[in-house]
C-alpha cells in the first residue's frame, strides 16, 4: 500500500473520522481530533508500519498538523 493510504488508514483508525481524505488540510490539533495520546499512538503506528524513525524531540506540532503535512513528513523521513 502507498504512503498516502497507509497514513490515512492509521489516522482513520485513531480518530474514527472516516472522511479525512476529503479534508486533507484540516488542522487535526486545533480541531481536537488528535490529542497528545493519540499523537503518540500515531507516531508508533507510523514507525511500525512504514519503518521510519520519528525523532519525537523534534516533533513540532505545526509541521504535523494536517493529513497532507503528515504525509509530506513521512515521505521526508523515509
Amino acid at each position: 500500500m502507498d504512503i498516502e493510504n497507509t497514513v490515512l488508514d492509521i489516522l482513520t483508525d485513531l480518530t474514527g473520522n472516516d472522511d479525512l481524505k476529503d479534508t486533507m488540510d484540516l488542522d487535526l490539533f486545533e480541531t481536537g481530533i488528535l490529542d497528545s495520546m493519540a499523537t503518540v499512538q500515531m507516531l508508533l503506528e507510523l514507525q511500525g508500519q512504514l519503518d521510519i524513525e520519528v525523532p519525537v524531540s523534534e516533533f513540532e506540532r505545526t509541521e504535523w498538523a494536517t493529513p497532507n503535512k503528515i504525509i509530506a513528513k513521512v515521505k521526508e523521513l523515509q
Partner: protein, 509 residues
C-alpha cells in the same frame, strides 16, 4: 510522629526556611515565605466576605502558583476547596455548583464568563489581595480533623458529577504514609504534571509542601507540544517524578529519556491507571538506578493506599504487575457479591477501610449509601475494582466490577456517556464500549448508536454528535469512533448487552 496539622506543617517550613523555593512554574519561582503570605492574604480576604460557615468554595484556574495559594487560603479561612480546571465546560461548572452549593467561586481565569448563582471573585480582585492584602485571619476557623479539606468531583452515572469529600484527617493519613514511603526530602524537586482537578496532583502536592520540597510544574501547554516538552523536561531537574503511566510512555519515545540525560531523577511514582510490564521494563532499562513505585487508590480513599517498588526481580516474576501492599493504617478485604471474604488468589471486589477513606459524596446520600457501608463494625468503601490478593497480602488489579474504565488516567463511566448520547435528539439508543490494546489499556472509546429514523448514520452525524457531546461533557469522555446500527444486541434480561459489544470490539482476549 506528632500529628501536626497540614497547614501548620507548611507554615512551619515558611518560618524556618523562608527562602526555600516552594513552587516553580515556567520562569516564575515562589518561596515558602511567598506561599505563606499569599495564602494568609487570601484567608483574610475570604473571612472578610463573611461567607456561610463551612460551605466549600470553587477554585477555578490552571496550574499557576496562585491556585495553590488559594487552596491553602480557603482552608485557613475555614472552607474546603473544590478545584475546577480552567478548560472545564460551562455545563460541568454549573453541575458542580448545583451539587456543591458553594459559598463562592474564586476564579484565576482572566475574563472568565461564569454563570453561577453565588459570588465570583475575579482574578483581578484576587491578584490585588495577594499583592497588598492584610495577612491576619482568625486561625480558629481553620479546617481541621473531620472537616472537609478538599472536594474532588468525578463523573457520576446519572450525568451528575459526584463530589468526593476529603477531610484533613483523610489527607493526613495519606501524607504520613507517602512521605516515608516515597522519601520526598527537604529541598528535593518533585514534578506536578496532573491538573489540580485530578487527585493525582495531590500525590506530591501535600507530601511535597509538608516536607519543604520544591514543586516543579509541567504546564499542560508544554506537555501537549512534544518538541517543547523535550526542550523543557531536562531543564526541570526533577528528583521525584509523579505521573500517569501514559505520560511517561510519551517521554519514553525520546531516546534521550534516560539516566544519562536525567541524572537527578531518583524515583518514579505512578498512579491513576495500570502500569504495564512493558513500560516498567523499558524504564528500568533506561534508568537502572532509579526506583519505580507502582501505586493504586481510588479518589475516595485519598489518592493512593497501596504501593510496591517495581524491581527487576518483580518484573521477572509477574507478567501483569501487582498494585502493591495496603498501607499500614488501612484494611483491605477481597469479597464476593455477598461481601464474604474470598480465599487467597481468588478474584473479588476490593473493599477499603481506614483513616483515609472519605466520609462520602457531598450532598448525595443515595450514592454515599450505595458505595460506603458497615461490615463487622467497620466502615468500608466499595472500590468496584476486581482484584486478587495472594497469601502475603500482595494485590493484583484485574478490572472493574462495573462499567467504569480508565483512559489516559481519566475515570470514565461508560453509562454516563450513554446517558448523554441518549439525550440527543438524533439518537434513539447508544452503548459505549472501550477498545483495549495488548497491555489491557483503554486506547479508544467506541459508541454504538442506533440513530432515530430520520437520521443517516454517516460521518456528518458523527460530527454533529461529537459537537453536541462537547457542550456538556469533558473532552476525554467523547468517543473517538461512532458505529451506527439498526439495533443493539440485548442480554437475557433485556438490557443492552455491553459485554457482547466489548467482545465484538476486542475479541475474546
Amino acid at each position: 510522629m506528632m500529628r501536626a496539622h497540614i497547614i501548620e506543617r507548611i507554615d512551619t517550613i515558611a518560618i524556618n526556611q523562608p527562602q526555600t523555593v516552594a513552587y516553580q512554574y515556567g520562569a516564575e519561582q515562589h518561596t515558602y515565605a511567598d506561599l505563606k503570605t499569599a495564602s494568609d492574604r487570601i484567608a483574610h480576604f475570604i473571612q472578610a466576605q463573611a461567607l456561610p460557615a463551612g460551605a466549600p468554595v470553587i477554585v477555578f484556574g490552571g496550574q499557576q502558583f496562585e491556585m495553590v495559594a488559594t487552596f491553602l487560603g480557603a482552608v485557613k479561612a475555614g472552607h474546603a476547596y473544590i478545584p475546577v480546571e480552567q478548560h472545564s465546560d460551562a455545563e460541568r461548572i454549573q453541575q458542580i455548583e448545583s451539587v456543591a452549593q458553594p459559598a463562592a467561586v474564586l476564579s484565576w481565569v482572566p475574563e472568565a464568563q461564569l454563570t453561577v448563582k453565588g459570588p465570583v471573585y475575579s482574578a483581578t480582585t484576587l491578584a490585588e489581595t495577594i499583592a497588598t492584602g492584610a495577612t491576619d485571619y482568625d486561625q480558629s476557623q481553620q479546617v481541621s480533623g473531620d472537616a472537609n479539606f478538599y472536594i474532588i468531583f468525578t463523573s457520576g452515572t446519572t450525568g451528575l458529577p459526584k463530589g468526593v469529600q476529603i477531610s484533613e484527617n483523610n489527607l493526613l493519613s495519606f501524607v504520613q504514609w507517602a512521605n516515608p514511603t516515597f522519601g520526598v526530602a527537604d529541598n528535593s524537586r518533585v514534578l506536578i504534571q496532573a491538573p489540580y482537578s485530578f487527585d493525582l496532583s495531590v500525590m506530591d502536592l501535600y507530601p511535597g509542601l509538608c516536607s519543604g520540597a520544591t514543586l516543579v510544574i509541567l504546564e499542560k501547554e508544554v506537555t501537549n507540544n512534544f518538541k517543547q516538552l523535550f526542550e523543557v523536561l531536562p531543564t526541570l531537574k526533577v528528583n521525584e517524578w509523579v505521573s500517569t503511566p501514559s505520560f511517561v510512555e510519551i517521554c519514553l519515545l525520546a531516546p534521550t529519556f534516560d539516566s544519562q540525560h536525567y541524572p537527578e531523577l531518583t524515583q518514579f511514582v505512578f498512579c491513576g491507571e495500570e502500569l504495564t510490564h512493558q513500560t516498567a521494563l523499558k524504564l528500568l532499562e533506561r534508568f537502572p538506578e532509579t526506583k519505580i513505585f507502582n501505586t493504586y487508590g481510588p479518589t475516595e480513599a485519598t489518592v493512593a493506599m497501596t504501593s510496591i517498588e517495581i524491581t527487576a526481580d518483580l518484573l521477572a516474576q509477574y507478567d501483569r504487575l501487582p498494585i502493591g501492599y495496603t498501607k499500614s493504617d488501612t484494611k483491605t478485604l477481597v469479597v464476593d457479591e455477598q461481601n464474604q471474604v474470598v480465599a487467597a488468589d481468588q478474584p473479588g471486589e476490593l473493599l477499603i477501610s481506614g483513616p483515609s477513606v472519605s466520609k462520602g459524596y457531598l450532598n448525595n446520600s443515595d450514592k454515599t449509601t450505595a458505595a460506603f457501608f458497615e461490615k463487622d463494625g467497620q466502615r468500608f468503601y466499595h472500590s468496584g475494582d476486581l482484584v486478587t490478593q495472594d497469601q502475603s497480602g500482595l494485590i493484583f488489579y484485574k478490572g472493574r466490577t462495573d462499567f467504569q474504565v480508565k483512559m489516559h488516567g481519566y475515570r470514565i463511566e461508560l453509562e454516563e456517556i450513554d446517558h448523554h448520547l441518549g439525550q440527543l435528539p438524533q439518537v434513539k439508543q447508544a452503548c459505549t464500549v472501550p477498545r483495549y490494546n495488548k497491555a489491557h489499556q483503554v486506547t479508544q472509546l467506541i459508541a454504538y448508536v442506533v440513530p432515530n429514523a430520520d437520521q443517516t448514520g454517516d460521518a456528518t452525524l458523527t460530527k454533529t454528535l461529537k459537537a453536541a457531546l462537547a457542550e456538556n461533557t469533558m473532552d476525554y469522555m467523547i468517543p473517538q469512533r461512532f458505529v451506527y446500527q439498526t439495533q443493539l444486541p440485548l442480554s437475557v434480561n433485556g438490557k443492552v448487552d455491553r459485554k457482547a459489544l466489548i467482545t465484538e470490539v476486542n475479541g475474546n482476549a
